[in-house]
């Protein structure tokens, strides 16, 4: 399997403080990779720097063999990276339908040419179909999370960045989300980079990276994720 994204000794600064240090990481197509670690070790920063919201100080981000260090987020999105941020960030005053349409902006031609929402979304998240004309901000947290993931998928990404998709969400919806994510990986063969604290979800991943203080301190197959590793890097 070819490497979808490959990061080599990535360093990120926030003002004067050094947030990410020498990160090496890669995701292959059809693979789910999970990043674990306590709050504040830099997991979200990692995802933000991959989508381009943070500037790379040094190191390389290669996507499909091309260096995308200097590209803007919207350029990366059009290349096939989709980002589902922490806290969903759906557009509150737009309807659910419009929110979904925004997801297709990263397709060739943008949303001017793509207006039809693919039905597979409704299969994954049936609830969205009921709420199409509702304002995004009126949905509950879990529904917003589903909307956010659906929106990302509509752009037919090659790589999906998921930032704590289960945070603060009712358990039954967590299960829905988990199964949806595994399903799309199987069906579409895309790669997923997941930041997660919810262990059940973490265990579904193929591989894991553990972070501490801005660096990667352990990695391996999820099956090797032993109790010690968890208690060392995760305080759930």
């Amino acid at each position: 399997m070819s490497k979808l994204i490959e990061i080599k000794s990535l360093n990120i600064f926030y003002g004067e403080s050094h947030i990410l240090r020498d990160i090496d990481l890669s995701v292959k197509a059809g693979e789910m990779v999970c990043v674990i670690g306590r709050n504040g070790v830099g997991k979200t920063t990692l995802l933000k720097s991959l989508i381009g919201l943070l500037k790379t100080k040094s190191g390389e981000i290669n996507f499909l063999g091309e260096n995308i260090n200097r590209q803007m987020p919207h350029q990366r999105a059009r290349k096939g990276i989709a980002y589902v941020p922490q806290g969903r960030e759906i557009i509150p005053y737009l309807t659910v339908e419009e929110n979904l349409m925004l997801g297709m902006e990263s397709l060739p031609g943008g949303l001017s040419k793509n207006k039809k929402i693919d039905d597979f979304i409704y299969e994954l998240f049936p609830i969205l179909k009921e709420f199409l004309s509702r304002k995004g901000g009126d949905l509950s947290g879990g529904q917003q999370q589903q909307l956010s993931i659906a929106r990302a998928l509509l752009g037919e990404p090659k790589l999906l960045l998921l930032d704590e998709p289960t945070e603060g969400i009712q358990p039954n919806i967590i299960l829905d989300i988990e199964s949806a994510v595994t399903k799309i990986i199987l069906e579409k063969g895309i790669g997923v980079l997941l930041v997660e604290q919810h262990l059940h979800f973490v265990r579904q991943a193929d591989r894991y990276y553990a972070m501490q203080r801005g660096g990667i301190v352990a990695s391996g197959d999820s099956s090797e994720l032993s109790k010690e590793v968890i208690s060392k890097f995760l305080s759930v």
């Binding site: 360093n11 926030y14 003002g15 004067e16 403080s17 050094h18 947030i19 240090r21 020498d22 709050n39 504040g40 830099g42 920063t45 203080r213 801005g214």
Partner: protein, 374 residues
Amino acid sequence: MNTKNIKINGRLKFIFWVLLIAFVVAAPSLLPVFRLNLLGRYLSLAIVALGVDLIWGFTGLLSLGQGIFFTLGGYCVAMYLQLNSSSEFPNNIPEFFALYGVKDLPFFWAPFKSLFFTLFAAWLIPALVAAILGFLVFRNRIKGVYFSILTQASLLVFFNFFNGQQKLINGTNGLKTDVTQLFGQMVGSELIQRYFFWITVFLVITAWFFSKWLIKGRFGNILIGIRDDEPRVRFTGYNPVLFKTIIFSIAGALAGISGALYTVQSGIVSPQFMTVPFSIEMVIWVAVGGRGTLLGAILGAVFINYAKSLVSEALPASWMFIQGGLFILVVTTLPQGILGWLYSESPRNLLQRFGFIRKIKTYPSLEINKNGES
């Protein structure tokens, strides 16, 4: 390295002060009467600039209506001077009333016969008006740009009112002070003008120390707190409305004093002082000088006005270009103003606390990296 910088900085500052004081002391004998008069007027503008700095630089309230208070102060002294020298006119009221067929002095003029009253009114009335206006606005938590727009609208209300009321205050023409009498001397005379210059210098310094004293302690800290995070101030148990009203009214008082001094030195007060551009210019002086630095406000007011008068003598049409360009330049590239920028070069400086210096950002729970080489 750092300490060395501070020392040099201190020495520079000392030299700067010596030069400044020397200049002010020598000015009356060095400068021709006309230039001295200009300097006096621009110094009086420095007082209103201090007020703008207090409310904008420290408290975060951008008022575009300081002209109201400035003009009110000016009208107070002008009314006194007019009354004081109207004994030879019909009905013993100022000359202009006759133009509009007014025979009885409007009631609100009467108290201004007293010098004592006037000296208080010139800052108390603007302060009161500011307090009322401010209270009404702040009470409803109107802030940011809404506050600015509302103050500008209030400015227009006052401007139109003063402009339209010929029978009460001589409308557009305003009130003149140059040919009025003060202690038996003509106000426009060189002698009296020289006194006004000294009074202005004295009041600028007083206002400066007063402002410094205000912002130095906990009171000033609350103002900065209001600027940065007003809800937090509220939940800490302070009433921001009260503090904002107080500081706005202090700025109003300063504007009033400034307007009074400006009026007696320029010989006239008119609704022209309440036009929109003039009030915005006041903000520019502070922005260019350096908001959040009191000295910046003073220097900004004096230098920009002096430049304006020199440039417009030479190239009348180009001043608008220069002024506009200066504005854009300062806002986009020197947001701390010139003085703020100069200060920010020194690594450990006092002004950091006023927040016009690049903030060190940290990401949640990561300590500032002590061995941050990489």
